[in-house]
Amino acid sequence: MIDLPPPDATQATAPARKRPRGRLLVTIGLAMLIALLAIAAFGPLIAPYSPSKTSPDSLAGPTAMHWLGTDSIGRDLLSRLIVGGRSTLLITFVAVALALAAGLVLGLVSGYIGGRVDLAIMRVLDVVFAFPVFLLAIAVVAALGPTVRNLILTIAVVYTPAMARVVRGPVLSVKRWDHVEAARSVGVGEFAIALRHVLPMVVSPILVQTSLILANTIFTVTALSFLGLGPPPPDPNWGSMLAEARQFMELAPLTVIGPAVAIVFASLTFIVLANGLREKLDVGSR
């Protein structure tokens, strides 16, 4: 499981200076993300074959007709790989968006109101936080059934505490800042203060955290599919493709490569983005 590196891991030395590396990494990460999204969006148009079209030519190695070979019932692996990213990315983005929304609301409310409300919210989140993420995801999906909706909800719930904590921390420190005090003293409403002054301050750490959680979610979704707890067949997805390739490894070893590369590429996208954002936005430096 991917873990979040400490916020000060990157910037322990560098004094104030321009961060061209951060900008480069963000550019690379964005380019990878756009490529990923484009393939997901236009997948069915790009794919050379229908991902569910079978052929007698099963478990074939890479050929001119099938660049990545075919699976056990003769479906074109490249096409399945292209189309297979859609469900993974869909689940990932929707789940993280939900976690982000929930984390924002809970973190802002918790950090801003403080006191007993803060305590109650944090205690409940602590309980969710106490579970090993992947284990909880397996248990919930196993209990509720592996549908796309359940996967999304499960992952959203599992990552909400991490999001909420990232929001709450800066809010706690930001809300005592002078210009927030100033706004309050001239009678700006509490809600407007939260929205206008506090929220912008917490954007940078949230961006970094979101991309890290996106990488984590790619892991969780593909790992669940790998264990057979992903979106139900026949729709292709990377995790189950890797599992299937593993089954037939002795007959067609190279079929492992495609899904493996796809999974790594997707998580690398968000890790590069997170590292770049962290350097560019100077998150975590003292």
Partner: protein, 314 residues
């Protein structure tokens, strides 16, 4: 010290209660009927179903059910498996031992790799730093089940003599047992080592800029003395803390690794139980692993506070 331990433990109790409620509630929220799931088939008579319900206590109020379940769990009774009808605790314990061993080896490997690369990164800086951090990003992007699958591909197919699927029980041959766990542990350790590496790097950089390291240099001490007594000894505490907190990640990852390498641990047990819809087992594993992780966090906190009491010089 004792006070601190008690306070820390008392803070954990409500979380543990919450965890147990989730673990319990999850299995009562099953679509369909718990009794039906227990029977394992839909083709049962109403009479049998009623008996099952009564036996499982499903006819009582939900809070009472929870109380009984929790009481049993505290007494070490984690219910009976739907599949084998045997007590879950008895089946779980030997598997837990296997997972504990795998996790421990992986933890040690991760610490060795992470500490070495992190230290090299922080001390040598420049190109080494750049390479280590680049590799770390890359490693972080390769999920452990992909690593494991590629390992299986590499060794199973091209170096079959290595025999990666030959799990040897500890009782049979302890040395061969550890040997058979090395590759799986490595697959499990890689991503965790990245976290340790990044934290080690940060800790060493932090310590390097401390005045006492400058004083050590001004004393004319040898580089290895400074490294050992001044840098590493001070950077060790945060690194060990981080390693302890990685237990959750290791336990989660072991589910995948054990399944791929066919190691008869808790992870594989969970996987089998999921495919068999053996809910009491799933419930027990969720409860037990969360408890272990929580307890580990408490231990890390206490250990840190102990060192901190001595370290704190402010």
């Amino acid at each position: 010290m004792l006070r601190m331990v008690l306070v820390r433990l008392s803070l954990t109790v409500p979380i543990l209660l919450g965890v147990s409620m989730v673990a319990f509630g999850l299995m009562r929220a099953l679509p369909g009927d718990f009794a039906l799931a227990a029977a394992g088939t839909t083709a049962v008579s109403d009479e049998v179903l009623r008996t099952t319900r009564r036996n499982l206590g499903l006819d009582r109020p939900i809070w009472e059910q929870y109380g009984i379940w929790l009481g049993n769990a505290l007494a070490g009774d984690l219910g009976h498996s739907f599949a084998t009808r045997k007590p879950v605790a008895g089946e779980l314990l030997p598997r837990l031992a296997v997972t504990a061993e795998l996790t421990m080896i992986a933890g040690l490997l991760a610490m060795a790799m992470g500490a070495t690369t992190g230290l090299a990164s922080a001390r040598l800086r420049g190109r080494t730093d750049w390479i280590v951090r680049g590799l770390n990003s890359l490693l972080l992007a390769v999920p452990n089940f992909v690593v494991a699958t590629l390992m299986v591909l590499l060794f199973g197919l091209y170096f079959p003599t290595v025999g990666i699927f030959n799990y040897v029980p500890f009782a049979t041959d302890p040395l061969a047992n550890v040997g058979s766990l090395l590759l799986p542990a490595l697959a499990l350790a890689l991503t965790v080592s990245v976290t340790i590496s990044e934290n080690t790097r940060a800790a060493v950089l932090e310590v390097s800029s401390q005045d006492y390291v400058m004083v050590a240099r001004a004393k004319g001490l040898l580089a290895r003395t400074i490294l050992g007594n001044y840098l590493v000894r001070n950077a060790l505490t945060p690194v060990i803390t981080v390693t302890g907190l990685q237990l959750a990640a290791l336990l989660g990852g072991s589910i995948l690794i054990e399944t791929i390498f066919t190691i008869p641990g808790m992870g594989q047990y969970l996987f089998d139980s999921v495919s068999r819809r053996d809910y009491p087992v799933i419930q027990a594993i969720v409860l037990v692993s969360s408890t272990i992780v929580l307890m580990m966090n408490v231990l890390v906190d206490i250990a840190y506070a102990r060192v901190d009491a001595r370290v704190s010089y402010d």
